[in-house]
Symmetry: C2
Subunit: 352 residues, 2 copies
Amino acid sequence: MSISEILGSCPVPLSRYERITLGHGSGGQLMADLIHKLFVPAFENETLAALEDQATLDFGGNGERLAFTTDSYVVKPLFFPGGDIGSLAVHGTVNDLAVGGATPLALSAGFILEEGLEVEVLTRIVKSMAEACSLAGVRLVTGDTKVVERGKADGVFVNTSGVGSVPAGLRLSISSARPGDRIVLSGTIGDHGVAILSVREGLAFETAIESDSAPLHELTRLMLEACPSIRCMRDLTRGGLSSAVHELALASGVGVRLDERAIPMKPQVRAACEILGLDSVYVANEGKLMAVVPAPDAEALVEAMRRHPLGRDAAVVGEIVEAHPRYVVMLSSVGGERVVTRISGEQLPRIC
Amino acid sequence: MSISEILGSCPVPLSRYERITLGHGSGGQLMADLIHKLFVPAFENETLAALEDQATLDFGGNGERLAFTTDSYVVKPLFFPGGDIGSLAVHGTVNDLAVGGATPLALSAGFILEEGLEVEVLTRIVKSMAEACSLAGVRLVTGDTKVVERGKADGVFVNTSGVGSVPAGLRLSISSARPGDRIVLSGTIGDHGVAILSVREGLAFETAIESDSAPLHELTRLMLEACPSIRCMRDLTRGGLSSAVHELALASGVGVRLDERAIPMKPQVRAACEILGLDSVYVANEGKLMAVVPAPDAEALVEAMRRHPLGRDAAVVGEIVEAHPRYVVMLSSVGGERVVTRISGEQLPRIC
């Protein structure tokens, strides 16, 4: 079967559910259904409908724009190799600002605590958040705490929202990709998801696998300095590389062609994915991003990224194509092409 | 015993807990402990330490300031007379911006959904949020959805954060109250808390008691126009009028003297408080505020407020005094004075 025949036979995803499933929080098709069929029509405005990782708003009248984003964190377990819910909540929101080209300015924290939570656990989380804020150069300026009865939450949930400043004239958008553009990845994929899953499942690997959770705002600043032609950036969280390129393909009305051999992955993560039966393109990351850039600037961008520790494994991993708009195709490492379908339900619940 | 003898014998509140209790989310002394002993020292910055209902930040360089606030909503039940978790989440965050003198611009929404939640319930909540946004003139511009397993949350929790614009030169602060200032209340107290509790307990009163949940940004705009000398405003949510005046007394280092006879209350709310054994000064409101204003301007402010439907019962209910700094005293309706202690634990869990 040719790619176009396969594409023609792709099933229409189910969208009629009477009850919320774990899959509705997956970053995949079910979540997209909820967004496109419920949230976007209900709240009806262009800023929300653009579905960027951050909203940008006019503010102050001097051309500088305000970036605004929110994320709740329900990761399980609360502490994992390479991080915890506190540092993750800071990095995730900083990154949602950074990939919009914003300098993160300030965060809020909303805690939902379960009655009976050890104060010591909360203290460790708060200290980790404070340290992450300090390293990322943002201040946590406002907050809220709610407590619910035992059994009505799971330890701690944290919401962080963030505001940042987008320089005048800069407009990154996932709807701006054009055929011929290159897709650049900042580093290895799958680290965060595999780290969470291995601790959750009690798996031990020869080399410890740590989450890649990290703040990307310095990397994005260097990228935009080195390569002002960047069309857009996105961090690769729930749904992994796949969800990010699918959202790009849909928003820009283009096709995406990935080269599996070019996608960086740590050997132990690759091995763990094989053992656990995971496809790495769907696995969440918390310190990785992709950028779309006109082809002539791609190599210069990769070189600039490699000079930063969080971009040292940067690589061109794919391109934007005119063929098969809204579909993602992968040139496999063993030859041949396959369609990367958008993940439907949930591969790894509560990954962030 | 004289007031000063009573004050001298006030017990020091317990602050050493090993586990989080419902009281830590109460808006009372336990929550204050968490804020003052954990959050403020950990995140160490002046904006957070000011403990206003909203942070204000320099942005854009033209004098206009950015207001930023967050609140999570865990109210139970999700639907109650006069509102639901969706409208409440919009009003609460709009009000936290409004009492800082900000024009609300945009909101975010972070949903934490329990697996198994009926999609129809979520749809009703989202539609209610959208309607509340539309009536309040704010756009909901960015969001996030997480799903946790059955039994790991309680239906729906919603976080709304908000950004707004504070005009150049306006600096309201709860640390700015001065002896002689008057405390003005915008209307009747206790409606929200009693409405929630009556539906939760299955109580029926002759006249239905509805939540006062409402957006206060138009009222605050009129107030600031009519009375630019306003020192500060605060909406009366968890912990009710008591927590608001206690926070004021602490932040400004002043005493507060309330006049019980002047505090507006609906007869059915008064009756319900008596039946339920509630002290109305501790009961939550979601559409009421207090303002502190220099004495000569108090009557003009009350008159201006009464011209707006949400301020029609506005009244001067107390004053700032030099005596007993950081304490709140109530001139009782039967004569005599009593100390209003800050609520310690939780009178009504999950009120908002």
